[in-house]
Amino acid sequence: MSEEVHDTHHGNYVKIWAILVVLLAVSVVGPMFEIRVVTLVTAFGVAIVKAYLVIKHFMHINHTPRFIPYLVVTCLVFMLLFFAAVAPDVMNDTGSGWEKPAWVAEEKAWAAGGGSAGDQHPQP
């Protein structure tokens, strides 16, 4: 097959771009209401929609062989599995047969007490 082979289907890209810009405006304005649910939806929900539009319309994922989305999703899933496994260590202070070293609590206390720009971390 030569390099002249192109199987993409071009659409109205300016329209997609306009939708993306409107979504950007929503993601900026939404959090100004300072309502947690609205912030989550407008910031992160909208980010997912924007990503979908870019992947579908700009990257033409629908017009690639099916193994390409599988390849991408496999990488994503394995990464999420890895982080699901280490998440308890990061997010909990104690677990079954282990606890975090003292310096972690010291750092938390330092940060909660107003550790600010220019200050250095407490050393482990």
Partner: protein, 191 residues
């Protein structure tokens, strides 16, 4: 005259090998950036006080850079469309516009970092700022690399050579845009 690398055009998997290679790069980059972002999210959830640190980032600067990257993605895909139509000159023009977007992004980022560092928010100030500079810095390196490759591809496209590469650099560029789409709310909006 240089030889044309056959691997960029031939296909043994249903798509040209060059495009397959770019998707492999993107799959690898998902693990790199995904790992960084998920680490950030986990730490952010575990340390509520990070919101105070995040309050010092400028939402408007982040939004402007998002607009720049979304617009540069548009010019990249228009370049791809022109390349498919065999219009190398237009494809090159679109890639130059995209590279200008990359330059704008990096200049804004440089000004932003200068302001933040001058106010004492450095990579060692706190774990939030460590993540901030690492994630945004790694992303900015990808922007710079993409711009350089884009200029090289545009030079050839201008002479109607290797037009298939316009799509390849476009794919990479859209991925760079995608990463920023998630970095923006994480670093600039969630306060």
């Amino acid at each position: 005259m240089s030889a044309t690398p056959i691997a960029t055009g031939r296909s043994t998997s249903g798509i040209p090998t060059g495009r397959l290679a770019v998707w492999w790069v993107i799959a690898s980059e998902i693990v790199i950036f995904g790992g960084l972002l998920i680490s950030y999210i986990m730490h952010r959830l575990a340390h509520g006080n990070w919101a105070e640190q995040a309050a010092h980032t400028s939402t408007w600067v982040g939004a402007f850079n998002t607009l720049v990257l979304l617009s540069s993605s548009l010019s990249a895909v228009l370049g791809h469309k022109a390349a498919d139509a065999g219009d190398g000159k237009k494809a090159a023009k679109m890639l130059y516009i995209t590279a200008f977007g990359a330059l704008t992004f990096v200049c804004v980022k440089a000004a932003e970092w200068t302001f933040e560092i001058s106010h004492g928010y450095t990579i060692t100030s706190s774990t939030f700022w460590s993540f901030y500079y690492t994630a945004a810095g790694l992303h900015a390196l990808h922007v710079i690399a993409g711009a350089i490759i884009m200029l090289i591809v545009a030079q050839a496209a201008k002479r109607n050579q290797h037009l298939n590469r316009v799509e390849l650099i476009g794919l990479y560029w859209h991925f760079v845009d995608l990463v920023w789409i998630f970095l923006f709310p994480l670093l600039y909006i969630a306060k």
